[in-house]
Symmetry: C2
Subunit: 410 residues, 2 copies
């Protein structure tokens, strides 16, 4: 339990670095990012790594292999948080990776590849509303048009970078070369209830689900709740309710697929008025892109049928479409083997949440290890893990790293 | 068309008396109520009536019968409005009744009963959130505890009455005696689409529907829209959607019955979060109280079943329960006869909206004549009627009054 305890202690230490003393909030290019980066760099150096921040503010540590300059197995996660965050989302992966290198370093062990640990500076996208800025820069896919985006205080990303001490013109230098990365592997809490339900501390991720999002506006006819007979109503909420159930039913029909109506606004919204206007969102995710597209097509067709039958109209607008990031089979096999070697049942599951691997897949094959979290709760101060799981997770990651076989050598 | 035109002209004149120059808003005990009352009193006097305001601010006009002091056929509606109101809701009934008495007076005709016209000072309840203050006072059922209620400016009803020049202690004097009223009859726009769909200008109301209202709170489990498999979700919105459809389906199964979910709030309300909490309202109305109670019982039982099956919880709170006010068969027959005598098809329909008859039923048998309105639209500046319908409606009401047979003489 020594490693698990040390990991949790460090996570707590990081969680204390927050712009709000009452809860954990640490956003991109904040003074708190700088303090957290300094702390992580000190841990990296203590683990025998060279460490510094790159041009987008990522913390990058490197543990050389048997000879300096070998291609690296890159292990990473993010150091930024949502507002009023949990303390494990992101940070746990960075801290656990450092603990693994520390163990290797303690044994004086060098591998036939380097280990690179990246603590990404932005994954959540809280400050500028655009996610994975750190991993996109590392993958060489940073979209420079976002430099003009402003935060809630009207500060552009360009200016925020400069005030942080970074030069926007240098961001391209954060890009890793494909030759230098053997694989990208991320260790992360599951943020869902599947491992807990399975009674397993860790699992191997098959794919980071792609997502399609829609905004739907249903227009019916508002009317007096007492005077309009049921048969002639054009009730926008009743139509929306039928859509919600159709989405739920369609997405429950296939493993891995999920569909959510998370937001809904009803107008005019009075107890004695038939709703004439309803707006709602749809979020459909699946580990397989074709599966997601089929579901999205079916759902939008069903909305069309439901609203036509009810004499109301629907406007459906696609507002987001992101492809899945499938994990590489050769990495999944090695993750399964590491789990098995630690005496645990290998178990595979998709990731419905987005992760830095979605960006890193553009520069390397990706793999992910999920750690069980309590109640599947995340993005919430109640986010929690067992210390014993932190220990087991670190042992699995360490085993994976020690036994890692480069693809070329397979 | 002369009477119809004059009625519409007077409705327009009343509609110009508003606290807001851009729309019609005339609330209880306002300076605008006083101006509107004075105008109505002048029309009443011009029609050969004595007229004044009573202790609750109702305008009361009296046209004596063949001898002074006979019991009265009371015809009334209200002179207050909702905010941003239509101009016919309430006012049309008062103005049309005056036009009928004017016609009798022009012919020098006296009936073997008096005619009393009441323009109620408060039916909508906008100012103090409690409805039918005028008709309740007239019916002798005024609840004196409401005098402590405050309006949006913190002014108590007691103070507002005094500032208007009324003495709260005198309100009981506004109560009519049962002996003095032969019947209460109201002429009102339908506020619904039924007559328009039937192609009929007028209809005879069978009952003013009773209403039961609930507030429902469904508690599920919020969660990440990507990470929680469909099978283990406790989605409060999906459960609420099933409830909305159950309410719609149950209430569509019987004529006259209506059920509406008009308000719904979803929490936490983010595109990527499964809703954990939904609050919504239910409004169930029916012309028959047993029919309404059966529907309410079925609906609440179904909500219990739906939520139990989905592993979420429902709290259901009854917040309103008002009995139906059935129209008297002997009055409905006379209304049908008047409609028929004017060469129109008699047609009966319930009133889903509340009216002063719900209060007046405590002091007299009630009857109602509905006039077709455009598109069923009401409580809206777009509220409209055809001038020709105003004419036809006035002829029907006049015929009803002229031919009115007292119950005792039937």
């Amino acid at each position: 339990m020594r490693i698990g305890q040390e990991i949790c202690r460090r996570v707590d230490e990081l969680a204390a670095i927050s712009e709000d003393p009452n809860c954990l909030t640490r956003i991109f290019l904040s003074p708190e990012q700088k303090r957290a980066s300094d702390l992580v760099i000190s841990w990296m150096r203590g683990a025998g790594m060279t460490a510094s921040t790159d041009a987008i503010g990522n913390v990058v540590g490197r543990y050389e292999g048997v000879v300096p300059g070998l291609p690296a197995l890159t292990v990473g996660s993010h150091l930024d948080t949502v507002r009023d965050a949990g303390r494990y989302d992101g940070m746990l992966g960075v801290v656990t990776a450092i603990a693994c290198v520390e163990a290797l370093n303690r044994d004086g062990r060098r591998l036939d590849f380097a280990i690179e640990i990246i603590g990404f500076s932005d994954e959540e996208g809280v400050r500028f509303g655009t996610t994975m800025l750190g991993s996109k820069a590392a993958a060489g896919t940073f979209d420079f048009s976002v430099l003009d985006r402003v935060d809630a205080q009207g500060i552009t990303m360009d200016k925020a970078l400069r005030e942080f001490g970074l030069d926007p013109a240098e961001i391209a230098s954060a890009a890793r070369s494909r030759d230098g990365i053997l694989a990208y592997v991320e260790f992360h809490i599951e943020q869902g209830p599947v491992l807990e339900a399975q009674g397993l501390p860790v699992g191997c991720v098959t794919s980071i689900s792609g997502a399609t999002r829609y905004e739907v506006e249903i227009t019916g006819q508002a009317g007096h709740a007492g005077t309009v007979p049921m048969a002639v109503r054009q009730d926008a909420l009743a139509a929306a309710a039928a859509c919600v159930l159709a989405i739920e039913s369609r997405c429950a029909a296939e493993d891995g697929l999920v569909g959510t109506v998370g937001r809904m606004e009803i107008g005019p919204g009075a107890i004695n008025v038939i709703p004439g206007l309803v707006r709602f969102t749809i979020d459909i995710r699946a580990p397989d892109d074709r599966q997601r597209r089929r579901a999205a097509t079916d759902v939008t067709r069903q909305i069309g049928q439901i609203t036509a039958k009810r004499g109301v109209t629907a406007m459906i607008q696609k507002i987001h479409d992101m492809e899945a990031a499938p994990c590489a089979p050769w990495l999944m096999e090695q993750i399964d083997r590491a789990i098995d070697a630690e005496g645990l049942q290998p178990f595979r599951l998709p990731s419905g949440a987005g992760h830095d691997g979605m960006a890193m897949i553009d520069v390397a094959d990706i793999g992910m290890i999920f750690l069980r979290c309590v109640g599947g709760i995340s993005h919430n101060p109640a986010e929690a893990i067992a210390v014993s799981d932190a220990e087991v997770g670190a042992q699995v990651l360490l085993r994976f790293i020690r036994d890692f076989q480069q693809r070329a050598s397979l």
